[in-house]
């Protein structure tokens, strides 16, 4: 394939036309923003076509130099036209243009593809990648947009002109300061921190025991029991919340700390059950038998043999339970009272009533925490898989 790609040379119209088309598309947007779409297309297409023609006629050996020149020229243009932001955009687009011209011109776009593909198939392949890239952008953009906005010096939910100019005056930490000093937010954090770990502890301890029981082959009514234990995950939260509100008011637990903790614990249980039973599927029962054979009592066997092996599953189940409680708002809205106002509740109220960008600072912190949690779960999952690979059977 490598041999094929070296011999493959695209036709000249493609070498010049494709960069020209890219220039046209970008020119269209710039042109529309500046009043004339047609002029934008023409200038963009012309510029890129000339660049492509020039670089291609210089030959292969000059690639590095040519790409640096393009990069420098476009960045300088951006800096002159719109300042710092223009420089950043110029750097991005300058690199993109240089890379694209050679990617097309040297036929590199075919390097990883089967040589027998028709041009249409190659086009479709890259079209498909572009679609996927757009979907990934849809997935990740909202989360990324929140981060720079949280440093906004104004109380706006959108980018100010100062921010777009990358002017330091447009940025500040004031929303973070508010988040860490405003008593509404700090007490909300404190409540979340008080509720979530206790709820997690309850669901993990009860859930792990039950999962071990369920993994035995001799449980009667296994399906029915499983259905009941999983049901908090299936029943819509608003229904759980309504039912708990009625029932907990009746027994005097509505608006109490323990009411919220128990409600959150039961919501976390399905996650613990699912992850721990999944881990137990790969657990080799002969290990416990061997331990028993060597004289260990069931408690020792559990803590010294079984627990270390299923620990990754237990921890990731616990993380799920923790997230469930930490992120839960519907049930706490109904079961809790103002004294149990958690962080998500405070965010919900903030979004509904007084819109303050402090929410964005809070959101950014939560995103950072979730990245940390995601990493932990991934590491645990790999470790668990590795361990399972080691154990026989």
């Amino acid at each position: 394939m490598a041999v094929m790609s070296e011999t493959f040379k695209p036709a000249t119209p493609l070498k010049i036309g494709a960069p020209g088309a890219l220039g046209g598309v970008i020119g269209l947007f710039v042109g529309v923003a500046n009043g004339s779409a047609l002029l934008g297309i023409l200038i963009g297409a012309g510029l890129l076509a000339v660049l492509a023609y020039g670089s291609m006629s210089l030959g292969n050996g000059q690639e590095r130099v040519v790409r640096w020149v393009i990069l420098a020229a476009i960045s300088a243009l951006g800096l002159i036209l719109t300042g710092t932001m223009g420089l950043v955009l110029g750097l991005i687009f300058g690199w993109l243009f240089g890379w694209f011209i050679y990617w097309i011109g040297e036929g590199r776009y075919r390097a990883h593809l089967a040589p027998y593909l028709t041009s249409g198939q190659v086009l479709w392949h890259y079209g498909f990648l572009l679609i996927c890239a757009a979907i990934f952008a849809f997935l990740i953009t909202p989360i990324l947009v929140v981060m720079p906005l949280s440093f906004n010096a104004q109380d706006f939910f959108t980018f100010t002109p100062e921010m777009l100019r990358l002017d330091p005056a447009g940025y500040s930490l004031k929303h973070y300061r508010d988040f860490f000093t405003n008593s509404e937010w700090t007490s909300a954090v404190a409540n979340s921190v008080k509720i979530a770990p206790v709820a997690t502890l309850i669901s993990v301890s009860l859930g792990t025991l039950a999962a071990i029981g369920l993994s035995s082959d001799h449980v009667p009514f296994k399906r029915a029991i499983m259905a009941i234990l999983i049901s908090p995950m299936i029943v819509p939260l608003i229904i759980s919340a309504a039912g708990m509100y009625f029932f907990y008011s009746k027994i005097g637990m509505q608006g109490t700390y323990w009411g919220v903790v128990l409600a959150h614990a039961v919501l976390g249980i399905p996650f613990v059950i699912i992850t721990v039973t999944a881990t137990l599927v790969g657990f080799d029962r002969s290990l416990t038998r061997a331990a028993a054979n060597m004289g260990a009592d069931p408690v020792t066997t559990f803590f010294r043999v079984q627990m270390p092996l299923i620990l990754p599953g237990v921890i990731s189940g616990g993380l799920f339970a923790f997230i469930t409680s930490f992120d839960e708002v519907v049930v706490v809205l109904f079961v809790g009272s103002a004294k149990q106002q958690t962080l998500p509740w405070q965010m919900f109220v903030g979004l509904r009533e007084q819109i303050s960008p402090t929410i964005l600072a809070c959101a950014t912190i939560l995103v950072v925490i979730s990245i940390a949690l995601l990493t932990t779960v991934e590491v645990l999952r790999r470790r668990s898989e590795k361990m399972r690979g080691m154990s026989p059977g």
Binding site: F136, P142, T158, L360
Partner: protein, 552 residues
């Protein structure tokens, strides 16, 4: 023996049943050990099962119970609802005087306990105007009773005083203690034995009054409160039938005077029906009596009928007028929007899942992070992000205006409508579609498509006839999961949905926290729950709940 495969089986059969080490037969020993392990497993499960039953299943059943529970009507108006059972509303005649009399006693007591407004609120859900009618009727009940008290008061002011009544009704010893008693140890009412025989109804009414006082505030000094109107009415009834001239205890003079007045027949007492008509003209409206009669039973289908835009009338269930039908619209909107969200998720998830399952492992893992990060990010964070993106002055509109694609005064309405809810919820639920699709697609061997192509299929045919059918289970699993989650969503529609983009769950929350029509909220919840459980059952049949995977 057949279920135990032992190499020594043949020999054992010759020697009779095989024995375990302790001398019992092996079969029994095995059964016993099996039973022990069963119990062991159940003991491990029991705490959690109990916990879930108590903190989760019981509340759900409580909600289901509330959706049919209707004891407030018969509890507040026990006498009149019993009599109303025999009233035939079809004759077009108002209920008889006995019903009005019963209703008077019910409402009078309810008014004293301040329950009549609660009942009014309850019945107002079925017929507007009843709330204010019951509120206003509270005072009307006093007026009916005053017709008895006023002539007595004209005779002697003491009839409207607390202590003279205490002296007249109570046993002398009890009165002495009661008047003297400090707060807590106020003893139960002991009637005067002579009066009991003379005025049985009055004593009964007075005893009831004393019990009520004690229930209301056990530390209240007795003899401070003048008795309520029911006592005066009972006195009238007693005096009409009994001769009290033989009585000589405390207050004998007043009693004799009153007896003369009652027996003379000069007092003009209006009927209860007239009193009710005076209190509120709703009480002579046959439709209102019909409503009360219809909602008398302890359990009602009324809430469920309300939840499907119907109404319980004396003639059975019927649809509400066209403009009052809200819930049908809301249910169909919830289903429609959940379907749209599910389809957008399929459309967006399919290419991504395909790409992820066909890339080399390292690259796939890297890209998977882009799917898992939104999955792990707080729901509130993602919802606030979408609020920031979609607002009138939000990021999307600003970018479009900056690029000149839309005019500044013609910004797109992306939020507080159905579009906002659909965009935000598609984003939020997309990982739940990608992950099951991915796990199905990574099991499809690439050799099938290659084989199809080598047999002459073009790309499209190879995909559509060979690859796609194999990926359908993934689509099915993801779709049901996303649909189940979408149909019960509350937070995101509440924030980005405005008025037109809300779901049935938002209405449930409204009924529970704002309008306080808990029964209707519970009925809507029960219907939603039934829908979700049906889908869950389908999911379990198709995918199996054990196959739910979390976090890839």
């Amino acid at each position: 023996m057949t279920d135990v495969q032992m190499p020594a089986g043949d020999q054992a059969q010759q020697d009779g049943p095989m024995l375990a080490a302790d001398g019992t037969t092996l079969k029994r020993s095995l059964a016993r050990s099996l039973r022990r392990r069963k119990i062991q497993a159940l003991m491990l499960i029991a705490p959690l099962l109990l916990f879930v039953l108590l903190t989760f299943v019981a509340p759900i059943f409580d909600m289901l119970y509330r959706s049919v529970e209707n004891s407030i009507v018969s509890n507040t108006m026990p006498r009149s609802t019993t009599l109303l059972k025999d009233w035939d509303s079809a004759t077009g005649e108002l209920p008889g005087e006995d019903v009005y009399e019963a209703a008077f006693y019910d409402l009078f007591l309810a008014k004293e306990r301040k329950d009549h407004t609660k009942l009014g609120t309850r019945l107002n859900y079925e017929r507007t105007g009843l709330s204010s009618m019951f509120r206003q009727s509270g005072r009307g009940m006093d007026k009916i009773a005053d017709a008895y008290l006023d002539p007595l008061k004209d005779l002697d002011k003491d009839w409207d005083e607390a202590e003279p009544w205490l002296d007249l009704m109570g046993d002398a010893d009890w009165v002495a203690i009661a008047k003297d008693a400090r707060a807590e140890e106020a003893p139960n009412f002991v009637p005067n034995a002579e009066i009991v025989t003379l005025l049985p109804n009055t004593v009964e009414a007075y005893a009831e009054f004393q019990t009520f006082l004690k229930e209301e505030d056990p530390r209240k000094r007795l003899g401070r409160e003048e008795p309520w109107g029911l006592v005066h009415i009972a006195l009238f009834n007693d005096l009409e039938q009994t001769d009290v001239s033989a009585y000589s205890g405390p207050g004998a003079d007043r009693l004799a005077e009153a007896s003369q007045l009652v027996q003379s027949g000069t007092v003009d007492i209006p009927t209860f029906a007239m009193g009710f008509a005076d209190a509120h003209d709703g009480w002579v409206n046959i439709e209102i009596w019909r409503t009360i009669q219809t909602y008398s039973p302890k359990a009602t289908t009324g809430y469920f009928l309300n939840a499907v835009d119907m109404k319980l009338t004396p003639d059975g269930a019927e649809f509400r007028p066209e403009k009052e039908r809200v819930y049908g619209l809301l249910f169909s909107r919830t289903i429609y929007m959940s379907l749209v969200i599910t389809f957008s998720c399929i459309l967006l998830a399919y290419p991504v899942a395909y790409l992820l399952s066909n890339l080399p492992l390292r690259q796939a893992n890297l890209l998977m992070i882009l799917v898992l990060l939104p999955f792990w990010t707080s729901l509130l964070v993602r919802t606030s992000a979408w609020k920031v993106m979609l607002q009138q002055q939000g990021v999307i509109n600003e970018v479009l205006v900056w690029m000149g694609l839309i005019a500044d005064d013609n910004r797109l309405a992306l939020i507080n409508n159905q579009l906002g809810t659909i965009i935000a919820m598609t984003h939020i639920l997309l990982p739940f579609m990608i992950l099951p699709m991915f796990s199905v697609m990574s099991t499809i061997p690439p050799s099938y498509v290659r084989a199809a192509k080598s047999l002459g299929a073009n790309n499209w045919t190879a995909f559509w006839r060979v690859y796609f059918p194999q990926s359908v289970p993934g689509i099915g699993a993801g779709s049901i999961l996303v649909f189940i989650m979408a149909i019960g969503y509350y937070i995101t529609p509440a924030i980005v949905g405005g008025n037109t983009g809300t779901f049935i769950s938002n209405r449930i929350a409204y009924h529970i926290s704002s309008s306080l029509n808990w029964g209707l909220g519970a009925a809507l919840g029960a219907i939603l729950l039934a829908a979700v459980l049906l889908l869950y059952w389908a999911y379990d049949r198709i995918v199996g709940i054990d196959n739910v995977k979390l976090g890839g």
